[in-house]
Amino acid sequence: MQKIVDVQNVEKIYGKAGEKQFKALSDVNFEVKPGEFVGIMGASGSGKTTLLNILSTLDTPTSGRVQIAGQDITKLNNNQMADFRANKIGFIFQDFNLLENLTAYENIALPLALQNVSTKKIKPAVSSIAEKLGLTEILNHYPTELSGGQKQRVAAARALVHEPSIVFGDEPTGALDSKSARALLDTLAKINRDDDVSILLVTHDPFSASYCDRILFIKDGEIGQELKKEDNSRAEFYQEILDSLGTFAE
């Protein structure tokens, strides 16, 4: 079976040669299969955002190979990277990052407009994803007229509307209260299940992580441990995560 994400021997060193250097990632290897919901956990400063930035072509690794949907993204030039992000990747950021001068509808439609999808196709695409995320009522609102949870769901809709190969989230629930967080995660899990969308979620919140099929723990730039949900219930998995966080932190 084809892998959606394939990371081999990735290393990231911040700082130019000769200056003060810092190794944020060393020899990272892992893969994500189609339809998988994978979480990445780790302490603050362990390199989660760094890893995500590399996967999403916003940053380049110092060495190593990253393949996404069969494409070696470290070999792309800037324009190709932009196209790649626009077509293959969806993003959900911690602070929503909606454009406050566009309505919810227009925000969601943006990735399609960027790909010059015809207007006729934009409307049904936006409507269908908005319905899945329960946004139909608020499509004409501007971001400032939405609650935090609604904003994040709009952001999620924007990340999903163009049917990307994989959705990346960097602490998407970080700015939400527990109820909104739960609602968002339920929706993501449902979409992951029903539509077979692969999701890679960075979080340090064990509850969010319990929604994943598999969790990678990262420490000081290295992947240390892997935890699989398998047939456990979410409550069991949650407990398991808490336990391993305890041991992992030592």
């Binding site: 790649f84 454009l99 960027l114």
Partner: protein, 596 residues
């Protein structure tokens, strides 16, 4: 400690602060430049024939003062917007609001004082160079023009100190009054767009009506010069109001219309650009209408300045038909004449017996004498020629001026070859040349005229040739022309930096937006072209309106200037090139801030 923190805050935003500083310096430099002309009574009275000049300049001062206040207001908002988050943070961490407001007071005032001092110095230097450049480029004669003029400097400093004192107080008060939370979250405060169709429609009608009223006032005042003292203020008020409402209503409705047209708006980043614009336009209506007025004033000043230049040509050509007149040319003069681009050349001989001068009639048959006839009413002149000057007083007058002064009082007689040969007297040869263009041959014409004056010192007093007429007329109109150009360029610099400043002060808020667009996969090229488009619209809206203002505003000058619309493509082109320069600069700076 807090002071140190505040200073390090400045260091982190050094680029924003340099934008702020250069903006304020430009403002005070231009204010000084204007004042150095406007307060210099000796300059004004010796360089302009029109009694209205003092009035025009007084009016200009008021206008510039208002514009400067608005401008500094923007700069101040920019400063406050940069600082409030940081100061809010300090307050959240427990700093006293009195301390914070003292800090912002000192900061505002210090920035104002420093930039005013440097700006005035720049103003002095700029006045010198712009003045020199204009004087030499336009061959102007300007009296009593000095780049350093103490009263102007004093007024500039005083004016700016007062304004900055007010701004500083305002900032201090506004920080003291605001709640910590509002300060911290001001960036994400919602900007509401009002989409009230009825009000917009009323505004559109009102705007167009005001514009029409203003335009008619200008047309009327131009044709009834007595009405000008009432007409100009009325036109100014109506046109300012009209521009405001037109921009607010008309431009927004165009944008809304385009947004509705999904086949356009849902292509690429079009919708984003439109939304940026519609948010901007609301925020920008005031400055855009102000810029359109300033644009009109600046372009108008340059156009009228050049109009005076046309006037010079017109009057000079109305004085003399021939560009050059040489009596008994020697080798040097003959050589100079050869280097002219000759379009007509005539050589006449005359003899004198002390009572009259005698010309050969036959010479006029073979080379008719040209003369120019000016219609005092329309100030238009006609070029004619005559082969029988005996019966043409205009031609005789033209001929008279071609003789040396001592022969001008004598009667001119036109005789047959036989009679001419019989006259016993000194014979003089006069060579007359009309070139293809007086202006283009000016250096040689000047040299010939100078040489003639040397050869015949009596000419120095009496003049008579075209170059002498040119010197007088040029001196007369140069002052006006100079003012027009100077004011035009000063206003242009002011308006364009106003607009630039306003656009750049929004750039900080855009960083996040463009960064997000980049992250979700927009190519740099697309982002750049979005920025270009957006800034182009913001620059062209006031430009288009301003050009219309000028085209109609020139009606004010139909009675004062000879053909005010002639050659207007030249000042328009000069102006647009400079304006485009500002557009490209703004674009460049904006991208530097927004795109990494």
């Amino acid at each position: 400690m807090l002071n140190k923190l505040a200073l390090s805050g400045i260091k982190h935003r050094i680029r924003d602060y340099s934008v702020l500083f250069s903006g304020l310096m430009i403002a005070s430099a231009i204010f000084y430049m204007f004042m150095s002309l406007a307060t210099n009574q000796a300059f004004l009275s010796s360089n302009s024939p029109a009694s209205a000049t003092s009035f025009i300049f007084a009016f200009g001062i008021v206008l510039l003062a208002i514009i400067t206040i608005v401008y500094i207001n923007y700069a101040n908002t920019f400063l406050l917007s940069m600082r409030q988050k940081e100061y809010g943070m300090f307050m959240m961490l427990g700093a006293k609001s009195s301390k914070i407001s003292r800090m912002i007071f000192v900061e505002t005032f210090a920035i104002g004082a420093i930039s005013t001092l440097i700006g005035s110095a720049i103003g002095i230097v700029a006045t010198k160079f712009v003045g020199q450049w204009l004087i030499s480029a336009l061959d102007m004669q300007v009296k009593h023009f000095s780049s350093f003029y103490a009263p102007a400097l004093l007024w500039t400093l005083l004016f700016f100190v007062v304004i900055f004192a007010f701004s500083a107080i305002r900032n201090a008060v506004s920080l003291r009054r605001s709640k910590v939370l509002t300060l911290l979250n001001r960036d994400s405060q919602p900007v509401k767009i009002k989409r009230n169709g009825v009000i917009k429609a009323v505004q559109a009608v009102l705007g167009l009506a005001l514009l029409a009223a203003g335009y008619y006032t200008m047309y009327f005042s131009g044709n009834n010069p007595g009405a000008i003292y009432v007409g100009i203020p009325v036109a100014l008020v109506t046109i300012v109001g009209g521009s405001y409402f037109t921009i607010n209503a008309f431009v927004t409705s165009v944008i809304v219309m385009l947004k509705k047209k999904t086949s356009f708006s849902q292509k690429g980043l079009n919708n984003f650009t439109l939304s940026q614009l519609s948010f901007r336009i609301n925020d920008y209506t005031k400055i855009l209408s102000m810029v359109s007025i300033m644009f009109a004033l600046a372009l108008g000043a340059i156009t009228v300045g050049l109009g005076f230049n046309n006037q010079i040509d017109n009057v000079v050509n109305g004085q003399n038909y021939y560009d050059v007149q040489v009596t008994d040319p020697d080798q040097a003069q003959t050589k100079r004449i050869k280097s002219l681009n000759v379009s007509k050349k005539a050589t006449y001989n005359f003899k004198t017996d002390g009572k009259a001068v005698y010309y050969r009639s036959s010479q006029f048959k073979s080379q008719p004498v040209g003369y120019s006839q000016m219609n005092m009413q329309t100030m238009a002149f006609k070029m004619k020629s005559s082969n029988d000057p005996a019966n043409n007083s205009n031609a005789r007058y033209e001929l008279m001026n071609t003789r040396l002064p001592q022969y001008r009082v004598l009667d001119a007689k036109f005789v047959s070859d036989a009679q001419y040969d019989a006259i016993n007297g000194k014979e003089t040869t006069t060579v007359l040349v009309k070139t293809n263009s007086f202006k283009n041959n000016l250096p040689t014409i000047k040299a010939i005229s100078k040489a003639e004056n040397k050869r015949y010192p009596s000419l120095k007093q009496a003049g008579g040739d075209k170059y002498a007429a040119y010197t007088i007329v040029n001196g007369f109109f140069s002052g006006l022309e100079f003012m027009g150009f100077f004011l035009g360029i000063a206003f242009l610099a002011m308006l364009a930096s106003c607009l630039m400043f306003k656009i750049l002060s929004g750039a900080n808020g855009d960083v996040k937006r463009y960064n997000m667009l980049y992250k979700i996969g927009t190519k740099q090229k697309v982002l750049r072209s979005t920025i270009n488009k957006e800034i182009a619209v913001l620059f062209s809206v006031p430009a288009i309106l301003g050009i219309i203002h000028v085209l109609i505003g020139l009606q004010l000058f139909v009675k004062i200037l000879y053909q005010p619309y002639r050659n207007i493509e030249i000042p328009f082109a000069i102006f647009l090139v400079l304006y485009l320069g500002y557009y490209f600069l703004t674009r460049y700076l904006y991208k530097k801030i927004v795109l990494k």
